[in-house]
Amino acid sequence: MPRDPDDAFECEAWTRGFRRVAGVDEAGRGPLAGPVVAAAVVLPRRCRLDGLRDSKLLSERQREHVYAQLLTVAVDIGVGVVDAGVIDALNILEATRLAMAQAVRHLTPCPDYLLLDAVVLPGIAAEQRAVIKGDRLCRSIAAASIVAKVLRDRLMSRAHVRYPQYGFLAHKGYGTAEHLRQLQRYGPCDLHRRSFAPVREAAVR
């Protein structure tokens, strides 16, 4: 039975003398369309967060519930958004790092310690710790994963208004059977990641 994320990693950093500890995570690495969104969240030392868990284990409603609490209790939140065009120009890993670095740079003052889910960010002057399964284990990373996921879903709902034919509202750009069907039918739009194989294949047809 997996345990809920706790603040053991944060406590360790605080004990070592770090003052501003931020959790960083991303949403939208896998989809065929839409941006990759990253969030950085600084939580207070003591706070109650009801239902905080890895964003992938929560329903949309539960995520909204935690997100609303986070907007109230978080010390600081930063968000980075990197669009499909840049994902194609770099690659998804570099684009994800870029979104994360943007998210961290939107924190004021700068954090001195970062907890990340299995990545590190070159070019960010803070002590960094990559935690395997960080979004399940570490409170700040779980919080960041929820903020990133909710905001990405918002952006995909807006994308649906512009491009209603793909069904973005339902699948948020992920490669579901329905999405692949519409991609075959209409070809890619400017939100699609042309460097991803199914999009590339749909584009040559």
Binding site: A68, T108, L151
Partner: protein, 127 residues
């Protein structure tokens, strides 16, 4: 996006929902020009309504009411004028509303609508 921007955009979403429930039709979100941005533009019974949304995370700092300076009012009025001209809506009655939101959590936040919260400065009210 900073935390201010995140909370601001959540506030705009909440305000739009609140106004739609009261019969406003939202025409534009974040109408942006060189001069700046209007949070929401709506139609309410034929009147063109330009809406400024103010959000505070909590009740500290005396709440959001004091936050719209006369300079900001003048800027919103100029933006409104640009909107009216660009959409060829001259002659439509116009109004400036303010939506105040205390709190970021939908279950506990308080929303207040101030219809006609301010007037366009006289020298700018005619397009």
């Amino acid at each position: 996006m900073s935390i201010r921007a995140v909370i601001g955009s959540e506030g705009e979403r909440a305000a739009a929902e609140f106004l739609e429930a009261r019969g406003y039709r939202i025409l534009e979100r974040n109408y942006r020009t060189r001069l700046g941005e209007i949070d929401l533009v709506a139609d309410e019974g034929g009147t063109l309504v330009f809406v400024e949304v103010k959000v505070r995370r909590n009740d500290r700092f005396g709440g959001p009411a004091a936050a719209i300076t006369s300079a900001k009012q003048a800027r919103i009025a100029r933006l409104a004028q640009q909107y009216v001209v660009s959409r060829r809506l001259g002659g439509r009655p116009c109004r400036f509303d303010v939506v105040l939101i205390w709190g970021a959590d939908p279950r506990t936040r308080r929303i207040e609508l101030l219809p006609g919260a301010f007037d366009a400065p006289a020298n700018r009210s005619t397009a």
